[in-house]
């Protein structure tokens, strides 16, 4: 059999508020760059994070990864972010803009070290049904 690739995707949800704002900019510049997203009281989204993992299909279980282990790995990440104001409550986003690009990277940095048997292939973060952000190692092809 030619080398097979099996990428399993599980979707998780969290709801969070944020404000895009930079101390380096004046109020006018902030509004010009970030527009409505600069509202000082914040605004929020229902985020959906697609976690894509790959590896050999274990012949004993028929699985790339055990879903209960995966849920366990994601549990504290989702709990940390869910129902928070990211740029106020999460230290990483006090330093870095709570943009989709940085949120998806943050989840990668938290999740990747926990991976044991399977390998993290790609993260896809939906900010709205119309916007999503992907983060993966460069040699992979997006799915």
């Amino acid at each position: 059999m030619r080398k097979e690739m099996c990428v399993l995707t599980r979707v998780y949800h969290f709801s969070a508020a944020h404000r895009l704002h930079s101390e380096k900019y004046s109020d006018d510049e902030n509004y010009r760059v970030f527009g409505k997203c600069n509202n000082p009281r914040g605004h929020g989204h229902d985020y959906y994070i697609e976690v894509k993992v790959t590896g050999d299909i274990n012949p004993e279980t028929g699985m790339v990864v055990n879903l209960s282990e995966m849920d366990e790995m994601m549990r504290d990440i989702v709990e940390e972010l869910d129902h928070t104001r990211l740029d106020v409550e999460i230290p990483f986003f006090r330093e870095f803009q709570p943009s989709g690009e940085n949120i998806v990277k943050y989840i990668w940095l938290r999740l990747e070290p926990k991976m044991r048997t399977a390998r993290l292939y790609c993260l896809k973060l939906w900010e709205t049904p119309d916007n999503y952000f992907e983060y993966f190692e460069e040699e992979e092809q997006a799915t």
């Binding site: 097979e4 690739m5 099996c6 399993l8 995707t9 299909i57 279980t61 028929g62 790339v64 209960s68």
Partner: protein, 141 residues
């Protein structure tokens, strides 16, 4: 610069399955598979996306005619749709019908049937077990 054209057809089917490794004790099966070991099976509305690559025929403008593709998909899915996979589908006699294994079996079956349609190859398949859980499967050329 070279380009690639892909075509994807989406189909759905309903099936039941049970996760059970006969070499393990009941306790071990339950600890690994949880509710999925329920003895009489449980079911899902699966969605299969079949993505094909190939040359676009200059006369038809198509990689494959959907009229030719549909009977192939129906044929592949006849052992899946409204079946209890563990017992009604021979491929799962000794193989646990996880989403990953189902994707592998579907790939083999599709690839075999697509041999009759030259200039058209399987690129990737995606199998949704639920909207929150799916598998992408492909093989290197």
């Amino acid at each position: 610069m070279s380009y690639q054209t892909l075509l994807t057809k989406r189909v759905d089917f309903a099936a039941s399955h049970r996760y059970w490794n006969p070499n393990w004790s009941e306790e071990k099966n339950k600890s690994v598979f949880g509710k999925c070991t329920s003895p009489h099976g449980h079911g899902h509305n699966y969605i299969l996306e079949v993505t094909l690559e190939g040359e676009v025929d200059p006369d038809t403008g198509m990689i494959i005619n959907f009229y030719d593709l549909k009977p192939i998909l129906s044929d592949v899915l006849k052992d899946f749709d409204h079946k209890y996979l563990n017992e009604d589908n021979l491929a799962f006699q000794d193989l646990i019908p996880t989403t990953e294994n189902m994707a592998r079996v579907l790939w083999d079956s599709l690839e075999g049937k697509l041999r009759r349609t030259p200039d058209c190859r399987l690129h990737r398949i995606r199998l949704y077990e639920t909207p929150d859980l799916y598998v992408d499967y492909w093989r290197e050329r």
